[in-house]
Symmetry: C2
Subunit: 318 residues, 2 copies
C-alpha cells in the first residue's frame, strides 16, 4: 500500500459513512476572545465509542475482503482504538481480538467487552504485548489493525478533517493533537487534497515531545516513557505517520501540563462538553504560545474524544 | 396580559431568534436501550449564558417599548435567570439591575457581572430580597422581569419545545423539569399549539415535590425550604405557571436524589456533555419510574443548563 491519495480518502469517507456519526462543530464567543482568533471545535467526543478512533478502525475493518474479514481482526491497545475496533468488527459481524495489559483500566476493559471484543490479557510489557498479539494472529488468522501506523487507519482518520472542511468554510489553520500521529497525518492529507490553503499544525505535550523532536531532527525519536496527563499522546510516531507529517505538517506546538489542564477546564466550562485530557492540546498550545500568525484567523481544533472517568466529580454527591 | 396563544409564541420565536442559539438535539443508542424508548435530548446547556433562561429573558427584554426599555430591567435571582437577563439587557443596550443575596455563589456573581449586570446585594431573606427589588424599581423605573411567573418569560421558554418539535418529528412525549414552572408551562403551550399529539410531563425531585402536590391538590402548595441537589428546582409555582400546568400538563413524575445523580452521570458519560443537576430530572424520573406508557415511544427530554462548578473534578490535577 502507498500513502492514501485523494481517491482513497474519498473512498474511506463513503465506506464509513453508514457506521459513524457526523460530529458537530461548536464555537464560543468567549473562547474566541481569549484566543484572539475564530475557533471551530470539531467534536469527536460525540463520535461512536467516544473518539475519532472509530473512523480509522471502521475504514480498516470494512476495507477487508470477505475472506480476510471472516477470520476477524486483532490489535493491541488499552485505549480508544480497542473499543473502536471492537465496535467496527461487531458492525461487520466478525470477531475482534484485543490484547490488553493485565493492568488496563477497568473502564476500558468494560467498554471493549460491551462493544463485543474478545480480550486477551498479557503482562504489562511491550515484549509480552507483541508476543501475545503474534500468537493471537497465528492462531486465528485475524488481520492486525494497527492503531495508527496503517494507511487504512490513516485514511479513516482523514475523514474527520474532511468533514470539518465541509462544515466550516475557509479555515486558515487546523490544529490536531499528536500521539502516534494517525489523526495528525490524516488531517494533513485531508487538508492537502481538500483544503490546500489550510495550514496544519500538530499539538503535543511538552512532557511527551517526541513528535516535535522527531519533526525537527528529521528522523523518528521514540518517546521515552513520558509522563503527561494526556494519556492518549504518550505513544511514538510510526514510519508511515511520520512520513506524512514531515511532508504536510507546518509545525508542531507544545503545551505544558498546566496549560493542558487549564484548556481542558475552559472547554468543559465554556463549551459544556466532556473531553479527555488529550483533547485539550490544540487549545492549550494555542493559548500558551499565542502564535502571532494565528491572530484574527479562522482556526479549526480537533477534539479527539470524551472517554475518561468522571467519578471524581460525582464523589461529592455520595 | 393573558396566557400566550399561538401567535404570541410565534412572535416570541421570531423576536428572540437573532439573539439566541438554536441548540442541538442529541441521542444515544445506549441510553435508549436503558430507557426502553427513543430519547431526544434538547441541549439547552449549549444555550447562550448556559441555560434556557436566555429565551424567556430575551423575549421579555425585547418585548418592552423603547420608552420602558430605556429605564432598564430588574429582577431578583441568584441563578441562571440573573445571567440571562443581564445578557439580554446588554444585547438591547439597556441596564439590568439584579438583586442577589449576599451569600450568592461567587460563580453566579461573576457570570452576571461578565454579562454587564449591575448587582445589588441584600440580606439572604425573602423579605430583604423583595424590599430591595421594590426599592431598585422605585429608584430607577426599571421593568421587573420575573424569572418564571410572567407571560413574556413563559412565551420565551415555549420557544425551546417549539424548536424541538421542528428538529424532531412525531414525539409522543416531552418531559421538562419543574421548578417555578416557567419552562414546563412554556413547553405545555408549545405542545398544545404546535404538536398537539405530544403528551407533556413534568419532572420534579421527590425532595421538592411542591408542584406534584399542587398539581394533585388543585391549588398551589408552596415549597417548604426543600433540600435537593437540583438547586434550580427549589422554587414554588406561580399562579400563571400553575394555571397553564393544570390545564395542559398530563402528569408530574418524581425522582429521588439517588436517581438524579445516577441520571446526571449517565448523561455526562454517554452524551459527553456537562449538565447541571436540575437537568437530570427528566431522565431520572423516566429511569426510576419506567412508566409502561412510554415504553417504545419517542420521548423528548429538555436539558435545561450547564452552569455548575466543575472545580471538584479538576482538583485531581493540582
Amino acid at each position: 500500500m502507498t500513502q492514501p491519495d485523494k481517491a482513497t480518502i474519498q473512498a474511506a469517507v463513503a465506506r464509513i459513512k453508514p457506521y459513524i456519526h457526523q460530529t458537530p462543530v461548536l464555537s464560543s464567543r468567549s473562547l474566541d476572545a481569549l484566543a484572539g482568533a475564530a475557533l471551530f471545535f470539531k467534536c469527536e467526543n460525540f463520535q461512536r465509542t467516544g473518539s475519532f478512533k472509530m473512523r480509522g478502525a471502521t475504514n480498516a475493518v470494512f476495507s477487508l475482503s470477505e475472506q480476510a474479514a471472516a477470520k476477524g481482526v486483532a490489535t493491541h491497545s488499552s485505549g480508544n482504538h480497542a473499543q473502536a475496533l471492537a465496535k467496527a468488527a461487531q458492525l461487520r459481524g466478525i470477531p475482534a481480538y484485543v490484547v490488553m495489559p493485565s493492568n488496563a483500566p477497568q473502564s476500558k476493559v468494560e467498554g471493549t467487552k460491551a462493544a463485543g471484543g474478545a480480550i486477551v490479557f498479557c503482562q504489562p510489557t511491550l515484549q509480552a504485548r507483541e508476543a501475545t498479539l503474534a500468537q493471537v494472529v497465528a492462531q486465528t488468522g485475524a488481520a492486525f489493525i494497527h492503531p495508527y501506523n496503517d494507511y487504512r487507519t490513516i485514511a479513516g482518520q482523514a475523514s474527520c478533517a474532511y468533514e470539518l472542511f465541509q462544515q466550516t468554510e475557509s479555515l486558515d489553520y487546523v490544529i490536531a493533537p499528536c500521539g502516534g500521529g494517525g489523526l495528525l497525518s490524516g488531517t494533513a492529507l485531508a487538508a492537502h487534497y481538500f483544503s490546500p490553503q489550510t495550514i496544519v499544525l500538530g499539538a503535543e505535550p511538552q512532557n511527551a515531545n517526541d513528535a516535535y523532536r522527531s519533526f525537527h531532527a528529521g528522523y523518528i525519536i521514540p518517546a521515552d516513557n513520558p509522563s503527561t496527563i494526556a494519556d492518549g499522546l504518550r505513544t511514538s510516531l510510526g514510519d508511515k505517520t511520520f512520513g506524512i507529517i514531515r511532508q504536510y505538517v507546518a509545525d508542531i506546538l507544545l503545551a505544558s501540563e498546566e496549560w493542558i489542564v487549564k484548556a481542558m477546564r475552559l472547554i468543559w466550562e465554556r463549551l459544556k462538553i466532556v473531553i479527555e485530557p488529550s483533547c485539550a492540546l490544540p487549545l492549550a498550545a494555542l493559548l500558551q504560545n499565542r502564535p502571532a500568525a494565528l491572530q484574527g484567523k479562522r482556526v479549526g481544533l480537533i477534539l479527539t474524544g470524551g472517554n475518561l472517568d468522571v467519578g471524581v466529580f460525582f464523589q461529592q454527591y455520595q
